[in-house]
Amino acid sequence: MKTPKKIKWKHFINYIVIGVFTLIFSLLSVTNSLDLLQKFLLEKIAISILLSVSLGLVVGFLGELSLGHAGFMCIGAYLGGKAASILEPILGSTLLTLTISLVIGGVSALISGLIIGLPALRLKGDYLAIVTLAFGEIVKTLFLNSSEDSFGGPTGINTPRFDNKYLFIVGFVLVLFMLFVIQNLIRSKHGRAITAIRDSEIAARATGINVVKYKLLVFALSAFFAGIAGVLYSYSNYTVQCTKFDYNYSIEILVMVVLGGMGNINGSIISALLITFLQVELASILTGNLAVLQNILYALVLILIVIYNNAPSLKGFRDKYNFKNLIKRLRKQKFDPSKEIDDEAKWDRVPTKIEMNEVLSLDIKVEESTLKPDKGDK
């Protein structure tokens, strides 16, 4: 018996919207109706989406806080950019160079993601956040002190150019590719396993989920796309300087993820777009000391959203004036139990999984030092 295939439009809507968006702007660009700043803005938006969705995979779906996302981007930018500047004269073709350097940047970030994923197997919550933060700072320091002819030290490296008429299109194609990979992963049994680890690692282990494998996968994948964003950044800016990839930049990406809603890919995309747009637009309006107004705004938004979504005392209020309920009321929809719910697991509440006490992964050291299982005389 075969039932007719139902296409879940909800699953494709973001591809379509981004595809149409890209198409429109490509046409505008090809017909030379975009100015330099607009093209630059589009490139920045693509980079931000790549970063926020990839960080969202770690924070929103795996439930671990990473404060070193800019570090992965930094590795991608430096290695990809350096590869591009070496390869360009050899290969001659700019597109080929861009492709190869994207792969190099992505893969080198992926490897560093695996390395930083290793501590993630032992540490959780706050401790892991500290390690990722330290990782970002180490990466920055290493590039800052690199020799003149390797990565240029404080002056950084220069990268070859790619026709900016088309660079943002490459960026959005990459965004589509990333969405394809990440959404497919999330909407599969592997995605279920990842969200299961987020909800209860102990239960996930007891249900036979290989936590090590999935954590490494998520960290590697997230780093890969951050690395790709880095290469794109190096092309977009013509130059890479490590001071850009500091802790504040990681926070900026985190703001995008939190603002978009944890575990909500479309939310991350929208907030990345919005924040980047505001940033570039506000930068021309707010100059000098007023420029920090924007940062103040970020900070306030971050604090208020987290408090609103998580404060125990606001729970009643939240349930009553929920965005989803509002839409439901507008559409006068009732809950239909026979309807299959989307495979994506959205959650506005930050998970309760990360407990201070859950510092140790269970399989390594379970007890206080005094309660450690004794070595047996087997």
Partner: protein, 258 residues
């Protein structure tokens, strides 16, 4: 007779404190086996050893004659020992059906690599469909099918217990460990649970090892039991024999003053 689970002199000690010592248990492939004892007797610790949360200090345990000592939790689960928890641990932000589908993840018939999922190979769709059907089948046994699209955290307590068992069964275990399944249930729910457990035994044809305090519950359900006290086996055997054992009565009710 081949035993499904046998423990040989199993024991664990934490900093000199012996939480379990010399535990020898043999469970038949199709029986409900009870593990009882006062608080702190080491029952849950024993569960944690058998499921790989703790590594035993002494002894070994075997599943169908295969030594599993030293394996990781997920490996042991894949070998065929599934468990539930004393304090329910569900994937709260996921729907009921997805909770069960997580249990199906590692089964060989639903094999599908990352790559196949990421790039949507045909196998992915096939596997997903089969998993969904299988999960519905399991949920149906527990009467949870109508609730399948609710979030796990929104279920009433009794259903959460059942869902946890359903999830454990999804891993198609040979042995199911239930840690105080009747805890916090009212008499009606307990009765229902007794029926459910009997049903599981018949339907899945597996061994069940359960912990509980409620002697009535245990004696109504189990074929044989082991009584633990201070980490040591106090008595073992057929339910009635054990419950009439003098030592057991002493541990539970206290010594007769004469």
């Amino acid at each position: 007779m081949e035993y499904i689970l046998s423990t040989k002199n199993l024991g664990i000690s934490f900093g000199g404190l012996k939480a379990c010592e010399n535990v020898n248990m043999d469970i038949l492939p199709n029986e409900i086996y009870g593990l009882i004892g006062p608080n702190g007797a080491g029952k849950t610790t024993l569960f944690n050893i058998i499921t790989g949360v703790y590594q035993p200090t002494w002894g070994d345990f075997y599943l169908n004659g295969e030594r599993l000592t030293g394996l990781k939790q997920e490996k042991i689960c894949n070998k065929g020992i599934a468990r539930t928890f004393q304090n329910i641990r569900l994937f709260n932000n996921m729907t009921v059906i997805r909770n069960v589908m997580v249990g199906l993840t590692n089964k060989s018939e639903y094999k599908c690599t990352f790559f196949e999922s990421m790039f949507r190979f045909r196998r992915h769709f096939k596997v997903e469909k089969e998993m969904r059907e299988k999960a519905k089948e399991i949920l149906d046994i527990f009467g949870l099918l109508p609730e399948r699209n609710n979030l796990a955290c929104n279920l009433p307590y009794g259903m959460q217990r059942k869902l946890e068992i359903a999830r454990a069964l999804a891993t198609s275990p040979k042995l199911l460990l239930l840690d105080e399944p009747a805890a916090g249930m009212n008499p009606n729910e307990t009765m229902e649970l007794v029926e459910t457990i009997k049903l599981i035994k018949e339907k899945f044809n597996i061994g069940i090892l359960l912990i509980d305090h409620d002697l009535k519950f245990v004696s109504g359900l189990c074929d044989r039991i082991t009584v633990l006290n201070f980490g040591q086996v106090l008595a073992q055997g057929k339910v009635q024999d054990v419950l009439n054992n003098k030592d057991v009565i002493e541990a539970y009710i206290g010594r007769e003053s004469d």
